[in-house]
Every structure is written in C-alpha cells, then in structure tokens.
C-alpha cells in the first residue's frame, strides 16, 4: 500500500506490463502533441493543414471548428458571428457531446501538459499540503467572464485566458505568455494540487457543462474487484468524480457521470484489477452491463 502510494500504477505495471498500464496516457499525449503539431506544421514548414487556433480553425479549407465558449462570450458582449463560425460551433458541440465535454481538457488543451507535469512532479517530490479552495470556484469564474464581458462589451477573458494564450503563443509567437504559463506551473506545483485545471479554469468549467450530457464515460463494469489500493485516486485530476461510482454511493450505478471527469483514462491505466474502462453513459443502474471498450479513442 505504501509502495503504491509512492508510485501509483506500479502494481498495474507488474500485472499488465508497462505499455498496457500507460495506454491511455500515451494515446492522450499523442493526441495533445499531434493536434499541436497539426497547427504548427503550417507556420513551421508551410504545410497548411490547419489554420487558426483553438478559438477558431479552418482545416484543409473545408472544416471550420470554433470554440463555443469564446463565441458565447462574444455574443454576451453583443456580437453575432459569421456563418462559418456558427457551423464550427455546432461541429465542436456535437463532437464533445459524443466524446465527453472535458475530453477537451485532457486530450486537446496544451495547458494540461503543463499542469500534468506539475502534478507529477509534486507527487515525485513529495510536496504535501495544498491550499483549499472549492472546486466550484471555476463556475463562479465562468459566470464572471460572461458578466464582465457583457458589462465592458469586450471578450474580456480572452485577454487573460492562459489556455488560448499558450496555444496562440506557440503558433503565433509567445511574447510574455510563457510567464503566465510558468506561474500556473509553479502554482500547481507548490501552492495547490491540481489548482488551475481542477479549481479555476473557466474553459474547463464550460466544457464540463457539455460533459453533463455527453455520451462517452468511464464505466466500472468490474467495480466489485476493487481492492482499495487508491491508485486511481492518486492519479485522478478530479478525484471527487470517482467515489460515487466506485463505492455505489447512494445507489450510483457503475458509470462516472460527474461532469468534471476529463475522460483522461489514467484510472483505467493504473488499475491492476481492471475496474475501469471506457463506455457509454447509458445503463448506469445495471452493473452487469459491460462498457464498450475503446469507444472513445479521442
């Protein structure tokens, strides 16, 4: 127990092998880096597969994708977007309704790699103690971005948003954005465990609202096999989402329905008892229904 506390997933590595115990992590990093590269090969080599950034992008001159959150802020500030942006919003909304709202956070967002590194380092360095702030603060901030946007008639949040700042910075030139990202890294490392992504980020909060309805979920078809090793809790960036489904709190079915589960799949990786797998949200009252493995590749 104390051994697995130090290195969550060590048991799973022994049981399943290193590759199987890192499958979703590797896929996730591939997705994050791959998407970043798609945006970067244009400015780097002149291969224009994707133009734009996460706010709005145009792929191969046919596929518009737009961030619903930023366009909703624009709407709150009193501007109606053009047709392509509206189509882009519809596609993105539909996509995340299928793959899971906060899948954006763990599979696409570049800040996730920074905060994951901070969380990993925090565990390895054994940094204890963390500021306590409610995880619901992000929804207050989400609301504030709309209120301030509407009051000032600007997309106020986009002037500060570290997510778009980093993504835009990597593609169009960082400037001092690296300092903001460094601040988030240090905050997560020394001040607060999973501080930014888990408590404050209104972008994640927005995508979690989509996640309330989204289809792809982590299921626990094998929850009876849990041996309470706590490895899933140790790696999960949103620990509070696991307990209801794992321990059947209040008769909760074997599906993680919490909107803030990011579908990162680390719990699936580190569980030596194969309790978790990806599946669909339906049938959450019947523990005998198995999940559809691998339904959510991205």
């Amino acid at each position: 127990m104390s051994k697995s506390e130090l290195r969550p997933g060590a048991e799973a590595v022994l049981e399943k092998g290193w590759l199987a115990a890192h499958k979703w992590l590797l896929l996730r990093r591939t997705s994050q880096v791959g998407i970043m590269l798609l945006f970067l090969v244009g400015p780097w080599f002149g291969w224009w597969i994707v133009k734009g950034n996460l706010a709005y992008s145009y792929t191969l001159g046919v596929l518009p994708l737009a961030d619903p959150y930023v366009l909703l802020q624009s709407l709150a500030a009193g501007q109606v977007p053009e047709k392509l942006a509206l189509i882009g919003v519809a596609i993105v909304l539909a996509f995340y309704l299928v793959v899971g709202g906060r899948s954006f956070c763990s599979w696409v967002c570049p800040v996730n790699m920074v905060t994951d590194l901070a969380a990993w380092l925090r565990a390895r360095l054994g940094i204890k103690g963390s500021a306590h702030v409610s995880r619901s603060v992000r929804y207050w901030i989400l609301g504030a971005t709309f209120v301030v946007g509407a009051l000032t008639g600007t997309i106020a949040w986009e002037m500060l948003n570290p997510v778009s700042m980093l993504h835009r910075g990597l593609i169009f030139g960082m400037g001092l954005a690296w300092a903001v990202i460094l601040a988030i890294f240090l905050f997560d490392l020394f001040v607060m465990r999973h501080g930014w992504c888990g408590h404050f980020c209104p972008v994640g909060a927005f995508y979690s609202l989509i996640g309330k309805l989204s289809l792809t979920r982590v299921r626990l078809p094998n929850r009876e096999a849990c041996n309470d090793c706590m490895d899933c809790f140790a790696v999960c960036p949103e620990q509070q989402v696991i307990r209801p489904a794992l321990k059947a709190v209040g008769g909760t079915g074997p599906v993680i329905l919490e909107a803030n589960c990011t579908n990162c799949g680390r719990c699936i990786d580190v569980c030596s008892k194969d309790v978790f797998r990806f599946g669909l949200r339906a049938g959450n009252n019947d523990s005998t229904l198995g999940g559809v493995a691998g339904a959510a590749s991205k």
Binding site: G42, W48, K51, G52, N53, A55, Y56, S57, Y58, P64, A66, D67, V70, L71, S74, A77, G78, Q79, V80, P81, E82, L84, A85, G88, V133, S134, R135, S136, V137, W140, I141, G143, A144, T145, V147, V148, G149, L151, T152, G153, T154, I155, A156, W157, E158, M159, L160, S164, M165, R168, G169, I171, F172, G173, M174, G175, L176, A177, V180, Q240
Partner: protein, 282 residues
C-alpha cells in the same frame, strides 16, 4: 467542496461564509478583468487594424483572436498582439512603418474572419478606413523644405485623391514653389504606404488610428458655402448689385476701375442735378 453538503451544526453558517469568500474572490478577479479590458480598449497609435475592422469598442467584442486574418494575409503584415503589448491580447494589427497594407483587391483577411470583426460588408478596398495619414512634421518633410521628394504622393495607391500636392509660394527663396502634400480623409484608406516610404529618418508622414487622426466639427456647425451649394443659391436675402456713389460724370466698375460717363448715358438723364438728388430713387 464547500461545507454545503455536510449535515452538521453550523453547516449553513459555513456555507454562507464559503459562498461569500468565493464571491468576493471572484468579484475581485472580475473587477481586475474588467479594468484591464477597459484599459486595453484604446489602441496604441502605432498599431493599425486590418481593413474592415469594426470600431475599437465593437472590435474587442467581436474578435476572437483566432489569427485567420494573419494567416490569409499574402504579405504577412499582420501580427497578433502579445500579452505584454499595450492592446487587447491576441488581436491583429500591423505597423505601417514596418510593413504597410498592400490593399489586395479581394481583401483575403476579411474573407478569413469568422466573426465579422472585420466587416464582410466591405468589398472595395479603396473604401477601407484602417487609419488616416497625417503629415505630422512639416519641419522635416522634404517637400515642405522645398524639395521635390513627392514619395508619399507617388506611392499612394489612391494617388491624386488621398494625397495631392498643393502649390504654395516658397517664401524663403521668393521665386520657387513648394509642393505641399495634403491628405484628404475622404479618400485615404490608412494603408500606411506613405509612412513606410517616407525617406526621412523618422517618418514625417504617419498613419494613425482614425480616433487619433481625425477631428470633428460640432454638430451644429454649418459651412456657408456648402449650404449655399446645397440650396442652389444664397440662403440669405437676394444679392443686390453694389452701387457706387461717384462724382458727377464718373462711374466705377469692378475690375475696370474709374471711367468717365459719356454725356447722355448718365443715369437718371442729364438734368444737371447731383445724382443723389435725381429721380425717385431716394
């Protein structure tokens, strides 16, 4: 989570305290965000927005900082503002002295904009108002010094409309002409080619955002000569031909000067009486 869910004595109190704490914290953040947003609404003088950009107050609500205009500009003149730059982070601009707008006829930057922050209604680049050129320094402008530099006039894409050369006497030499570059705001697009091409060490003609470059008359001002043109004639009492009170036998005509009146042509007949005492004109 907060203590809201816990069924213990003081749970409600704890909930209220926690809520107040979060509300205050987020309120402060919101205040900071709002002040920063307001402060960043003013565009620095050297930053010119791409063609078709909405007025700054609307632009900061419409631009989502995607950089599509930057990508589709064939001359790569546009940049997205970095966080440390004194304008709305991530919004597009160009600096005329570095690289001016080349005024593409198909305006690809506007077509690329997904939000209408660059107005899709603008289809004629010559009607764009990115800014306004101002001859900022008459002391260094070579034409003002009496030379025939004329570069700003020559490079202007709207030559002879946006910039004209107006002749003036060179008071210094007494017998030369100064060809003064004059910018006309109704035709200047603010592309910045004049600023880019100006040969003085620091440009003597510069493009500024419209709000900085353009004055405005008070709404109640009427320019008499324009009103007269609109009305097709004088707006006050009809003009009376001016009459000069001349000595007997003389007349004065504008442009011709004094002349003597041949006998018999004298107004009012040759009664011998002084003009002022003649007839019923009194």
């Amino acid at each position: 989570m907060t203590g809201s869910g816990r069924a213990k004595p003081g749970g409600r109190r704890q909930f209220l305290v926690d809520t107040a704490r979060v509300a205050c914290g987020v309120g402060l953040l919101g205040l900071g965000m709002g002040l920063y947003a307001r402060h960043a609404k003013a565009l620095p003088p050297a930053a010119i927005r791409p063609p078709g950009a909405l007025a700054e107050s609307e632009f900061s609500a419409a631009c989502i900082r995607c950089g599509m205009c930057v990508r589709d500009c064939p001359y790569d003149i546009l940049h997205l503002a970095k966080p440390e730059e004194p304008m709305s982070t991530g919004t597009p601009y160009f600096v005329a002295r570095q690289a001016p707008c080349e005024m593409c006829e198909d305006i690809p930057c506007i077509k690329a904009c997904p939000t209408g922050a660059l107005d899709h209604g603008l289809t004629d680049i010559n009607k764009s108002k990115m800014g306004l050129a101002v001859l900022v320094d008459q002391e260094t402008c070579l034409n003002f010094l009496g030379m025939r530099c004329d570069i700003c006039y020559r490079v202007c894409p709207v030559i002879d409309k946006a910039i004209t050369l107006d002749p003036q006497t060179n008071e210094r030499t007494g017998h030369h002409t100064l060809f003064i570059p004059v910018v006309h705001s109704d035709h200047c697009t603010g592309c910045g080619k004049c600023e880019k091409a100006c040969p003085t060490e620091v440009a003597s003609i510069k493009v500024f955002p419209l709000y900085m470059a353009k004055g405005q008359l008070s709404a109640h001002y009427r320019l008499g000569w324009i009103e007269k043109e609109k009305a097709g004639g004088s707006l006050v009492a009809p003009e009376v031909e001016h009459q000069y009170n001349m000595p007997e036998g003389m007349k004065y005509e504008h442009g011709k000067g004094l002349s003597t009146v041949p006998p018999g042509e004298a107004p009012g007949g040759a009664t011998g009486l002084p003009k002022a005492l003649q007839g019923d004109k009194l």
